[in-house]
Symmetry: C2
Subunit: 339 residues, 2 copies
Amino acid sequence: MAIHKRGRQSFILAHQPVIDCWASVAGKKESEGPLADTFDVTSQDTKFGQASWEQAEKYMQQLALNTLVQKAGVKNRDVDLVLSGDLLNQCIGSSFSLNNTGLPHLGLYGACSTMAESLLVASMVVGGGFADRVVAMTSSHFASSERQYRFPLGYGGQRTPTAQWTVTGAGAALVQSSGTGPRIESCTIGTVTELGIKDAANMGPAMAPAALATIRAHMEDLGCVPEDFDLIVTGDLGQLGKDVLMELANRDGLNLGGKLTDCGTLVFDCVGQDVHSGGSGCGCSAVTLCGFLLGKLKEGELKRILFCGTGALLSPTSTQQGLPIPGVCHAVSIHCGRD
Amino acid sequence: MAIHKRGRQSFILAHQPVIDCWASVAGKKESEGPLADTFDVTSQDTKFGQASWEQAEKYMQQLALNTLVQKAGVKNRDVDLVLSGDLLNQCIGSSFSLNNTGLPHLGLYGACSTMAESLLVASMVVGGGFADRVVAMTSSHFASSERQYRFPLGYGGQRTPTAQWTVTGAGAALVQSSGTGPRIESCTIGTVTELGIKDAANMGPAMAPAALATIRAHMEDLGCVPEDFDLIVTGDLGQLGKDVLMELANRDGLNLGGKLTDCGTLVFDCVGQDVHSGGSGCGCSAVTLCGFLLGKLKEGELKRILFCGTGALLSPTSTQQGLPIPGVCHAVSIHCGRD
């Protein structure tokens, strides 16, 4: 048996899975942002023609999956496994999107780190020979998240300066044992890390310590340095969380130099679109990866990135009970697939 | 690269992971039931000394993990990965139990199928050489589940005849690349299956079609028959769901004979303990496996079982929106490890 484990938290892929294809679905606000041209499907209707925001989220995942298999030129029945999860209570966006499709499904919960978590697990499933063709998928919706985690939109609450804007969107990536395209080289599994932040409208700084812990673990376990990457891309720290991560890294002696960026600051024009600290939600890193980032890797404009999905593991109940917000971050090293 | 995939939904383990050790924690009602002697830790305090039921659930997982590593004679830092999830919104039982422990964690959401899902994923992680020592863990709590899915206990609502009683308990299993003990031979990943049941107090029948689909897929993919197993054990169909599964299987020409049993009917004396249709919840199959079933396998009293975790993928929101209840079932074939 091949041993892939490296160090405490990481593994390498002896046979590197290929991200053969990807698809993204995005909402109105996202379609007005800097990445508008990179989405496969957009809608000006925040309900996507469905009866509720939760159903819209389900529908976005269905759209993302259908678009993905069409782009890949395969059929639904060619997909061996769908790995997905979302922010809705009990992940109903994911489970209802796959209802009665006959597609094998393993549900994940990593909050906004789900795109990275699903890619990471997909790389083990494919890299270990347990399936040939695996879809990694997730979604989020601004309105369903606000209602669930904070206040229903109808209340018209004032957003605080540290708030982020949950991305309405879904992303899906097809991970295969062979093919052409960006390849997954190695991954680092995160630890649940929390430094005491309790404000559910300040999640970037709550997740920053987890991001640092995972980036550091990746470098240590695999003997690499930030300079080995064109970009180190966190999931949804937002501007404030990114600043906190830079400061924590500097204090810790880890120079992230000009490598660090964050999907939450890429997906929106933070000032022009009035989203305060930036984008957030599972969909934030999902639509940024499954379009802009994988596109740049495919074209060879990026050679190697460390995709670091970040998740805030709070719940409305934990917030109401006054508990702090633990964070988690999973990292996936993706190479362009060219020499 | 070894190819482990078999058929549409299944895989075999060329190098069979070993369930080296297990631990269970259970509440007051469970400690008065038929499996009382098989639990490692029990408490007569439904809050386990914590401030809330949700915190009690977190604490049960901590107790289960600590008991597990003690029984196994290892340290926390020897554990490479914890795979866990639970029924609480955003799985806070799992994430908070691992907060600042430094343990690598991948969160799963499979509702009450989580014990099987976590074992299944653990078998891929260990069987694929991505980690040596993985903990599969989950929990549920009667009071937190009732409050979240149905009504707060303080309302004193009348339970319907089809209702099941969520087990207060946590189970944890240590899956290793080597060692002695029961071995995981093969697994089948479930599909999200739903036949229209909408009553959140009638979840056994809602999950029965998914259980049938997965048991059938296991037999077809791996060329086996029910007679190859000493027991086919579903997670938490309860008496009613088990009856429905038997009838669906009979109609479908699959003779489960005397092989079928269900953790929901094993963990409680359904009549004597007034739990109506039986036990349910992630903890139901977790405490039944991580004690009674694995104990019987270790002793050789059972040679081979098909452990079929069943999950109802509803949420309070989907129930309020009048949606039906999709089910899922993941199957793990476990051998006693003796010839």
